[in-house]
Amino acid sequence: MARTNTILEVRNLSVNYVTLEGVIRAVRNLSFKLYEGESLCVVGESGSGKSTVGLAIIRALPSNAVIESGEIILEGKNLLKLSDEVMSREIRGKKISMIFQDPAATFNPLFTIGQTLSDVIKYHLGIKDKHELGKRVISMLRTVGLPDPERVARSYPHELSGGMLQRAAIAVALSTNPRVLIADEPTTMLDVTLQAQILDLLAKLKEEFNLSVIFITHNLGVAAEVCDRVLVMYAGIAFELGPCSDVLLNPLHPYTRKLLECVPRAHRKVEKLKYIPGMLPDPRNLPTGCPFAPRCDEAMEICRKSLPKLVEVKPDHKVACHKYS
């Protein structure tokens, strides 16, 4: 695939959560680039830090989060250094939009879908003419495949089903023509057939709106459907980053390989599922060295001592594992 511009770059990002039981290091020294027009999947299990990455980019972290270090560069500017005001007015919802696992998070239950949509368009695009706003609302709802957009615009969030509400949330996210869309597990709460519809819709809209997408998911199958490149995270660090088919068909990192082996398959018969022994590490008590070492059957002495760094092992395919350094 032809290398195009980098539209968003995350450099050495570290995010901590302050809790009474101690400091949770949710994201540690993460670096990656999002290329223009691509779909990058951030894949990981709980505690991997994947959701934190999305929230950090859009600066919607909970109040006990602390960004310890790092930069997030969009169009040459470090987003982390921008004031809250500039962030709200220029970036969040305008240049970078986000959709969530629960579409209800996007909507104030007291307002109709149409009101929320037109508020967003008014705030970010400055369009005040009611007639024009109305036209845009209907057109946006139609674009996301909602039948009877007029009725949806008049509805309240609780009156819509999960699938329809998620479409409406996508409409809100794309109404301002953003450059980047962050999708945090947008189909996890939906049934399989609805999930397929939404994934198809997102693929279509990505082309139409020329979007660059960061797609966060724990489901490797969804990642395979959706992504151009995959970033595999575990306990806050990046383990593997590369083109989708490379990472999923020829995984370099032991974790990625083992994870793929323990996923049951619907499209072929699996005799005996392999599994990864042990448990995910306690985020308050991360081991020194590679967080996967306690469960890895290829672990060496050095794995318990130092964190592996992300290095390019094959063209465009990076791994963080002492096996390769």
Binding site: S46, E225, P264, R265, V270
Partner: protein, 321 residues
């Protein structure tokens, strides 16, 4: 040997309006479901939300009273059981739910959670029950050092093991697994699935698996029944269903499941069902899928097809066959 037979099960939920609670309609959650589970078999009920699969399970567990139909377990219709007979039935049929943190009482220690069924049914002392509970915990892979902990101290995988130990305590014949791994992380799911498989062989259990996750279904089931809007639309032995699906809904369902293999994305032909499942209050006339089915004919709109045997224990409810 048939262990459980469900015959024409119906469960309608009344919809009430107004101060007097007048009944204005019914949600027909389960509308005529029949199937059979044998000894030593893993039977899966597959469907999306609104299909009625969970309601079927709850009727079998007598958490709901069926509106109509029979559920025959070891030769007896259990829908009318009361008192001691019902209690005896409960020893034989147990359940494991989706979210272990919701299915375990957060204020009970896990040894007591597992001991509770023993104390409820057998005349043993608390200490004896606790001892046996600890053995069960070890059998499902939990160290006895966790016995006095509370569920919130455990990880998702550990908590689900506790739920499984509790279900095993009374040595049931059938365990209903309601989305047993959906709330767990991927790397833990495989552990639990393998554990369930081992336990089934050791304790000679049958499982009724309720799931929307077709990959899990394919891995552990012997027989699969697909439900849509309160009815079974197709059922067959697992490999037969997955390699030769006949009903349009089954085909659409299978083609919608994403697979961690980018090559398959291009090879797989996607059959999409536009729109969303209609409500179960007023199901469509004729075949319930017809408003969304790409192959719907005139007959499909008027008449509801019956479940037909197409060979090899494979049944389909569709006019196109």
């Amino acid at each position: 040997m048939t262990l459980l037979e469900v015959i024409n099960l119906r469960k309608y939920f009344p919809i009430r309006r107004g101060i007097l609670g007048r009944v204005v309609g019914y949600v027909k959650a389960v509308d005529g479901v029949s199937f059979r589970i044998s000894e030593d078999e893993v039977f899966s009920l597959v469907g999306e939300s609104g299909s009625g699969k969970t309601t079927v399970a709850r009727c079998i567990l007598r958490l709901y009273e069926p509106t109509d139909g029979k559920i025959v377990f070891e030769g007896k219709d259990i829908t009318k059981l009361k008192g001691k007979e019902l209690k005896d039935y409960r020893r034989k049929v147990q359940a494991v739910f989706q979210n272990p943190f919701l299915s375990l009482n957060p204020r009970m220690r896990i040894v007591d959670i597992v001991a509770e069924p023993l104390l409820a049914h057998m005349k043993i002392s608390r200490n004896e029950a606790r001892k046996e509970a600890i053995e069960l915990l070890e059998r499902v892979g939990l160290s006895s050092s966790l016995a006095r902990r509370f569920p919130s101290d455990l990880s998702g995988g550990q908590a689900q093991r506790v739920a499984i130990a509790r279900a095993l305590a009374l040595k049931p014949r059938l365990i209903i697994l309601d989305e047993p791994t959906s709330a767990l992380d991927v790397s833990v799911q495989a552990q639990i699935l393998n554990l369930l498989d081992d336990l089934r062989k050791e304790f000679k259990l049958s499982y009724l698996l309720i799931s929307h996750d077709l990959s899990v279904v394919r891995y552990i089931s012997d027989y699969v029944a697909v439900m849509y809007l309160g009815k079974i639309v197709e059922s067959a032995p697992t490999e037969e269903l997955f390699s030769n699906p006949l009903h349009p809904y089954t085909k659409a369902l299978l083609s919608a499941v994403p697979e961690p293999d980018p090559r398959l994305k291009k090879l797989r032909k996607r059959i999409s069902l536009p729109g969303e499942p209609p409500s179960a209050i007023n199901p469509p006339s004729g075949c319930r899928l017809h408003p969304r089915c790409p192959y719907a004919t005139e007959r499909c709109k008027r008449e509801e097809p019956e479940l037909k045997h197409v060979g090899g224990n494979h049944y389909v409810r569709c006019w196109l066959l």
